[in-house]
Structure formats: structure tokens, C-alpha cells
Subunit: 423 residues, 2 copies
Amino acid sequence: MEELRGNLLVAQSGGPTSVINASVAGVILEAGRNECIEEIWGGLNGIFGILNEDLVDLNEERAKSIEWLKHTPGAALGTCRYKIDFKKKPAQAAKDMDRLFEVFAAHNIRFFFYIGGNDSQDTSLKIHEEAVKRGYALRVIGVPKTIDNDLPFTDHCPGYGSVIKYNATTVMEIAADVGSMATDEGSCCIIEVMGRSAGWIAAGTVLAKRIPTDAPHIILLPEIPFVEADFLAKVKETNAELGHCVVVVGEGIKNTDQEEIGADKSRLDAFGHPELSGAANRLAEIVQGKLNLKTRTVKLGYAQRAAAHFASQTDIAESTACGAAAVRAAVEGKSGFMVKLVRLSDSPYQWNTDLQPLADIANVEHFIPRDWISADGFLPNEKFIAYAQPLIVGELNLQVENGLPRHAVLQKVALEKKLAARA
Amino acid sequence: MEELRGNLLVAQSGGPTSVINASVAGVILEAGRNECIEEIWGGLNGIFGILNEDLVDLNEERAKSIEWLKHTPGAALGTCRYKIDFKKKPAQAAKDMDRLFEVFAAHNIRFFFYIGGNDSQDTSLKIHEEAVKRGYALRVIGVPKTIDNDLPFTDHCPGYGSVIKYNATTVMEIAADVGSMATDEGSCCIIEVMGRSAGWIAAGTVLAKRIPTDAPHIILLPEIPFVEADFLAKVKETNAELGHCVVVVGEGIKNTDQEEIGADKSRLDAFGHPELSGAANRLAEIVQGKLNLKTRTVKLGYAQRAAAHFASQTDIAESTACGAAAVRAAVEGKSGFMVKLVRLSDSPYQWNTDLQPLADIANVEHFIPRDWISADGFLPNEKFIAYAQPLIVGELNLQVENGLPRHAVLQKVALEKKLAARA
């Protein structure tokens, strides 16, 4: 194995999770144990900031800040959605790549860790391939992160356990509220959750169900085409039985024509734009209109991916371990891999980390298997539950000040720039 | 003082809070200490259930269930919005009152505690007056409860501290997320919270602000008429300075014509109903349309009033104390009062309970004083902060099972009915 010494750069990309910073902590803590890693630096705002040579010295951060990263939401180093896109923008992508390797060389960066979802793993792959092509000694390892849980090959994604722990808790709490209100007519409550085209997040709220009559009573998954008549029949039936009905809907559910029901292009807002009232609002209109049933909506939005105050300790441990595993792999001479989580057993839950070639990951989406969903399509079944249950176990020891969570505040001591400003 | 012995009935009414059951626990625990109280019974679903003689024996509940009520959301005894309305439905109201006293007499109920907001205090008053008129020895004490914090005479309402603790935490977390995403154009996130015509809940999120640049950057209160141009100017200014803008909006904000902006009567949905997309959605349309700024919404809805997993320990203690104080007052011979919270000092925060005649309470709403709000109307000021800060302090020792909160499940052993079914 070639002995490589030099500096480390870690950066974050894409939408944050409530534990994305735990992976940064994992990288920093493990990096400190390896002599071949000379300096530990962070790139601000992902690739976007690295192109601007916006680097910070993470050695300057206090030990307590590093530890607190594990329960700090948002992306502590900043994030971006910037993509080096050789397909759509080949000239810009080539220019970006040149600049990136100028930055790497100027700061003797030899270990690069990019924490992100699908697009970010694709970026990591491109950087790895480019390094090989240029003969620039660089170890590139991707660290997985996404609440959507749609990365392939990994058993699940860091960030997913926390979002479903919080969402399932919220569904339990809302159900206690909704179910305690006696009305003659009944009621319906529709809770919209994230997940785009994958239903993992919506499905995870099934964990709130302890007995069959518990909420959620209906979970609408993007994997299952939405049929209005079937949905209304199920709401009606549930309401007749229980006096209320709690529905969880994935934001990206589509009708049988594959159109998202939350983006109604037939209706324009005051400014002539298609109305983006969202899936829950649309469903509420349908339920109120067709069943004349009092309906309320909840849209958790960013709250769910930032709810670090009730993150899963299992998720925090796994996210930290993924960061550490990335550093170990790089030190051992690996490059061009993503760290993945491997499940060894469901009960007791046991897991480990391993590596998957980045080339296998990029742009492959991972959906819920059809046989993990009930025949009528309205609830995940026991296979899904066995999968998801271990991921939400454990609570963090939350640091609180004056009644509110304390978050890490990084000093972000800037590195002196060595290059001219980006053209 | 007349020595009164007999049975106790406690019931809940109106929208739940995350600590409404702590007041039930307070009633039960204090009742157990008083010999003159023979049996401890609960009325299911408030007045609505009591009229149906749906009573349960709370002596049968396990001690642990009573303790767990303190962190169980929803109304554990069930709740209702049923009103004995002598103004609008005098015949029905008179009939209801007759039936109510039949139920009281049949079960020798001599101590009645009703936990609720404005309407419920009005019901308690009516029952007290009716008891006096009928010469039926009954002690009626109202126990305050409302997330809206709009009851007069009490320093604040049980339930309020918990909703603003959770909402301020959520705003902090969302702000960490939104603020970490680097974009060239900036972004806006609009978080809708409850509170109807009073802005107490929206205002409480100001506690998330530790330094002036922290979110929320704008809080839209129902007390301040919404002026679109001023709002847009403030969003633009904030975005130019910080690269993002986090707005909290009370669901009931109104324009200068006193029309709620969330209920746009000019637009009809697919079924011909006025569209109820809500204040946040409406604002998002305005911001996206007029400023061309990427805008996302969050609507916490019932989640905020049910978030027992992060309730305020101060609020739990106060809610429990209000239940206990109601029992003590009744045992001491008082009737026709509501328990209120009295603040003795801000720092260190000290409080006590006292009594206020129910006749003073009914149908009086309590709003944020204008001089607790900044001159531009966009943020509560230091007077509000001094008021609200102590109310969110302290966390509960949450009981968790398999990663999710454990809630009390009451056995609700039904009392044998002694009357014919309600006509």
C-alpha cells in the first residue's frame, strides 16, 4: 500500500438531516487518531464553497463543540445543491474540476470526505475518477446521508432513523389529541411528510401503531398510485369504526397518471403560477368535499429533518460510525467507495459498516419493496416493521439551556487563501 | 363553613394541550388526601359525556397511570366542544341543565372540576349558578387550560409554556437547517402556528432568538394588521443581510380590513368551497410571486399542542398544581371560581395559585399588550421575553419504549348507569 500523508477535507452536501453533523464529528474524531492525516479541514457549503477556497481549520474547534455536533441540526459546515454536471454543463464542469484540484493541490489535500445523498455520491465518484486520471494522489470516500433513505446497497441511510422516530412520535401525539375529541360526525387529520418519490419516511410512521386501531390508519406511499375512490372508502370505513381517521401522506404521491397530486397544474395562484398547496391540502379538500368530514392538516416540512431534540441514538451512533469508517478506509488506502451500513441481525439489532464502490451508487434510487406493503396498499406490513423498528431506538442526552436545546457553534477559523479568486 | 361530603367528578373540555392531563392528575392526587371526597370519578368527553352519564371510576386506575398522565397528550378522559348555550339554544340548554343535575344527584356528585378554556369556564359558571339556584350543594371550580394563553386574570395558561417550548425549539432547528443551505438567491421559510385571534403562541417563538440575527426574523401576530408591502420589504431586507429569512405566522392574522389572510374567499376549491390553504401558504404565494424567492412552509397544526415529548416541566408542575388547588378550594368551601396562576417574580421565577370568580372570566379574551411588541410590529420585545422565558424551563423525564414515548392508558372502568338514557 502506498503511504500517503497530507491534509484532510470534509464537507457536507444536499438537504441536512438532524444527524448529518454526527458524521462530521466521526470524521474529525477518527482523523485525530491517524498520524498520516496532518491537518483536519472543513469545506464550507460543500463543493460550492470549496471552489471558492472557503476552507476552515477544524483543529481549532473545541472538543465540546465536536461532541455537540452529534445533536446539532442543519449542516454545521454549510451545505449546497451545487452539482458538477458533465452531462448538462460539460464546459463548466471541466472548469470546476480544474479549480477543485487547484484547491486540493494548494492545500495538499489528500483525504476527501463528502457527506451527502445521491447527487453527492455522484460528485464523489467524479472527483475520485478525476484524481486517478490526473495522477493526483487522493483518497475519496463518500459518507451516506439522507432522510429519504433512498440510497442503494446500504441497509438504511444515516438520518432516516431520526426522522421516523420524530415523525412516529408526532403521529402518536396527534392521534392522542384527535382521538380524544368526541364529535357526532367524526374527523380526519392528514399529516404530510417528506420523502419525494420514495415512501420510506411515510412508511416509518407505522411504528406509532401499537394496536391495530392505533394511528396511522392510512399511509399513502408514493410507490402506490393514489386512487381517490379507494382512499375515500377507507377514510369512511375508519371513521365509522373509530370516530376519527389519521392519514399520513408522502409529499410526492401520484395519481394513476403519474401526476403528483400536491401540484395541481389546473389551478393557478394569484400570480399565475401552478398552485403548490401540497398533498395534504389537496387530500383535505377531497375529504371535506366528498365526505363532508371535518379535516385538519399538518405539514411537518423542514421540522422533521431538523428535529435533533428527539433524534435516534442508534442513528447518531451509526452516523458517527460512518464518518469514522470513511477515514479508516481512506487511511487503509481505499478510494472511490461509499461507506454503507450492513445489518447483521434484526433482534437483537446488530450492524456494521462496510464499503460499496461509488460507481454502483450514483443515480440509483431505492424504493420500498412491494411485498413490504399490505395488499390494499394502505399500510406497510410486518416485514417493513422488522426493518424499521431498531432504527429509532435510543434517546440522546440533550443539552438544554433556558429550556431550549444547545447546539454546537463552530468557530470556523478560515484558512488563508492561496489562490486567486475563482474566475 | 358547611361540611360537605360526597363524590368528585372531573372532566375535560375543548382542544387538548400537551399537559391537560397533568391537571387531571393534580385533581386525583389531591382528592385522595381529603376525607370529605368519597369517590373520584371522571366524566368522559366533558359535558357531552356527562349528559350521557358516561362516568368512570378513577380510583380503579393504577398509580403509575396517574403519574404518566403528566406526559400524556390529548385529553385522557376525552373532550368535546359541546356548549350549554342559554343564549342561542335556551330550550336545549334548560333541558341539558336538568339532565346534568339529575346525573349529579344520582351519583351524589358534590365536587365538580372542569378543565378547559374560555367556553368551559363559562359552562362552569352556569353550573355553579344553577346549583345555587336549585339549592343543590355543589362546589364548582374551573381549571384553566389553553395553548392560546387568552384567558384573563391568570398570569398565563397551563399548556402555553409547553407549546412555545416546542415551537421555539422547532424554529431553532428549522433555522439551523435553512441557514446552512448556501444559495445565490436566498430563501424564505414560513412556519404557521396556532393561536386564533391571539398572538401569544407566535410571539413565544421569539425565545429561539439568542442573538439578533437568529430566527425568527419576522413574527406576524394577529394583533397587528398585516400590510403586505411592509412585510415584503422586511423579508427582502432580511434576505439581503442573511441569505435567508425565517417567518413565524399566527394562523389568524388579518389584513387591514380585518379579513383573515389564510381564508381567501375569492378563490374556490374544486368543490366550490372557499379555499382554506392557510396563512403560511398564502404568504408563500405572496413571497414567491412578488420577490421570486424560493419559499417553503411548515404547518405544525395539532403537533404543537400534543408535543408532550418535549413539554415544559414548569408547565407540567403548574398544570398539576392548578388541579390540586381546585380541589383544595372546593374542600375549603369555595365554588364559582377559576384557579389562576399568579407570578411572584420573573427572576428567579416564582409563582403561586389563587382564585378568580368565574363571572370575571367568561368570554373575556386576553391579548398581547401593544407595548410588548416592537414599534414596527414584527417582533415581541424584551417585556414579552421576560414574561415568556420562565415558562419553558425544565424537561420531563420521558418514559420511552422501543424508541417512542409511553403514554398513560386509562382503564376507564365505567360506572353503572342509574338513569334512563338521555332523551
